[in-house]
């Protein structure tokens, strides 16, 4: 088997090895330097762009503020108007227009029934005292109150429940006195909506 004999002197081998090391380390560190420089450059440009954008925004803010301050009189008037309109909308949306309900109620009272007193409560109920010619008239009254589509009805389903609390036959007049509580739907009584 042939033997290879290294005839290069030891000193030259060392020089070659050192030269390789220098070259490799130079390439590597320059590569890292380039990569780091690119990244640093990116951040430099990014920060400069962001700072410029923030400064530009601050200038816009400053200009807008000075323009707004010069229009403070109209701003105050607009805010006052807005506040009043908001409150009015709130009040109108919550108030009951009882003219609609009273009109609708009286239309539904049959001729055979006489309502002697009516009391509207804040809990959306009507307490009704009255007299009817007979029991059937009371039944007819209750039915017409709860009828969804009454013949001349403008507001369907305004009365949602009618509870007959008492019925007493008056022996002298032979008429039936009654007391009932009727619940109405307040959403049907709100004309001006928000």
């Amino acid at each position: 088997m042939p033997q290879s004999i290294d005839l290069i002197p030891q000193q030259d081998t060392e020089i070659v090895r050192q030269s390789k090391l220098i070259r490799t380390s130079t390439v590597l560190t320059i590569f890292f330097l380039v990569v780091t420089s690119v990244v640093a450059g990116y951040y430099f440009v990014r920060i400069a762009t962001l700072r410029s954008s923030v400064n530009s925004n601050n200038r816009r803010i400053s200009e807008a503020r000075s323009r707004i301050e010069s229009l403070s009189a109209i701003e105050i008037e607009a805010r006052n108007l807005d506040a009043r309109v908001r409150v009015l909308r709130e009040i109108y949306s919550s108030r009951n227009e009882y003219s609609v309900m009273l009109d609708e109620f009286l239309r539904r009272v049959p001729e055979s029934v006489e309502v002697s007193s009516l009391n509207v409560s804040v809990n959306n109920t009507l307490s009704i005292d009255g007299t009817a010619t007979d029991y059937l008239a009371i039944s007819s009254f209750v039915n017409s109150l709860l009828e969804e589509k009454f013949e001349e009805d403008n507001v369907n389903g305004i009365f949602t429940e009618a509870v007959l609390n008492s019925v007493t036959l008056n022996p002298q007049t032979n008429e039936a006195d009654f007391f009932m509580v009727v619940t109405f739907d307040p959403t049907k009584l709100k004309e001006i909506q928000q």
Partner: protein, 264 residues
């Protein structure tokens, strides 16, 4: 000897050493601080951008309002008549009396009291106040409906809270009923300030706003003069509530600090 070796090594590795130093400097002084700085600047850019956009939108809105200055003033004037700033009780009672006269009903008693202060859900730190009016009238059904309608269509805001009726006890009141109404009229002190950074939400050209203002314009304006005003007694809230519930009749002489009753 060693020093010479070191010098030689440094000279040989001068490029990698300088590159490494510059890389480290770039990392320490450039990249690492930037990593934390960029998100801060991005957040600042977003914040200032949003604020600038908001303020510019406000400027556009204010300039539009300036173009519609006459409309804004007319609308402000209108809503100030509907929702007034002060109780103006004589004017309120006169309006109610005029409405009653127009509707053909006869006032038998009238008293007022100051109601509770109510918070406004759509406005922060704002409250409206209320004047309560207890009103007794003799009327037939048709006139009572007319009265309620006219009251609902009156420009100064008057709400009917509750009402009741029973047969009239007056001698000359055949087919008449004795109605008792509890009315409330709200008033609101508005004293807005210009807040530069806060947006303005009112838009006088918005369809729903225009529709609402048109409805207000359709209301009937009663503008009583001082000579027209009527006196009525001031009642306590309990007396107004009693009149409303019918628990006990409100006496026309039961006022606490009233100026006397003037039945119409």
């Amino acid at each position: 000897m060693n020093l010479n070796n070191l010098k030689e090594t440094v000279v040989n590795f001068i490029v990698p050493i300088i590159s490494l130093l510059v890389t480290v400097l770039l990392l320490l002084l450039g990249i690492f601080p930037s990593i934390s700085k960029v998100p801060e600047l991005e957040a600042e850019q977003t914040t200032t951008g949003d604020r600038a956009t908001l303020l510019e939108a406000k400027v556009v809105k204010l300039e539009k309002l300036l173009d519609f200055k006459t409309t804004v003033e007319e609308n402000s004037n209108l809503v100030s008549k509907v929702l007034i700033s002060e109780p103006q009780i004589p004017e309120l009672l006169t309006q109610i009396t005029e409405v009653a006269e127009i509707s053909g009903i006869k006032i038998t008693r009238m008293g007022y009291s100051f109601g509770s202060v109510s918070p406004i859900s759509s406005l922060d730190n704002a409250e409206f106040e209320t004047v309560l009016v207890s009103l007794g009238v003799d009327s037939d059904f048709e006139s009572a409906i007319n009265f309620l309608e006219n009251l609902e269509n009156a420009a100064r805001l008057v709400n009917t809270d509750v009402f009741r009726f029973s047969p009239s006890t007056s001698a000359d009141s055949e087919n008449l009923y004795e109605f008792t109404f509890t009315l409330s009229s709200q008033y609101l002190v508005v004293d807005s300030q210009a807040v530069t950074d806060s947006p303005i939400e009112v838009d006088v050209t918005d369809a729903s706003f225009v529709t609402f203002m048109d409805k207000l314009k359709g209301l009937k304006f009663y503008e009583p003069t001082v000579d027209d005003t009527v006196d009525a007694e001031e009642l306590t809230n309990e007396e107004v509530n009693e009149a409303a519930t019918g628990a006990s009749e409100t006496s026309s002489t039961s006022g606490t600090t009233g100026t006397g009753t003037t039945p119409q």
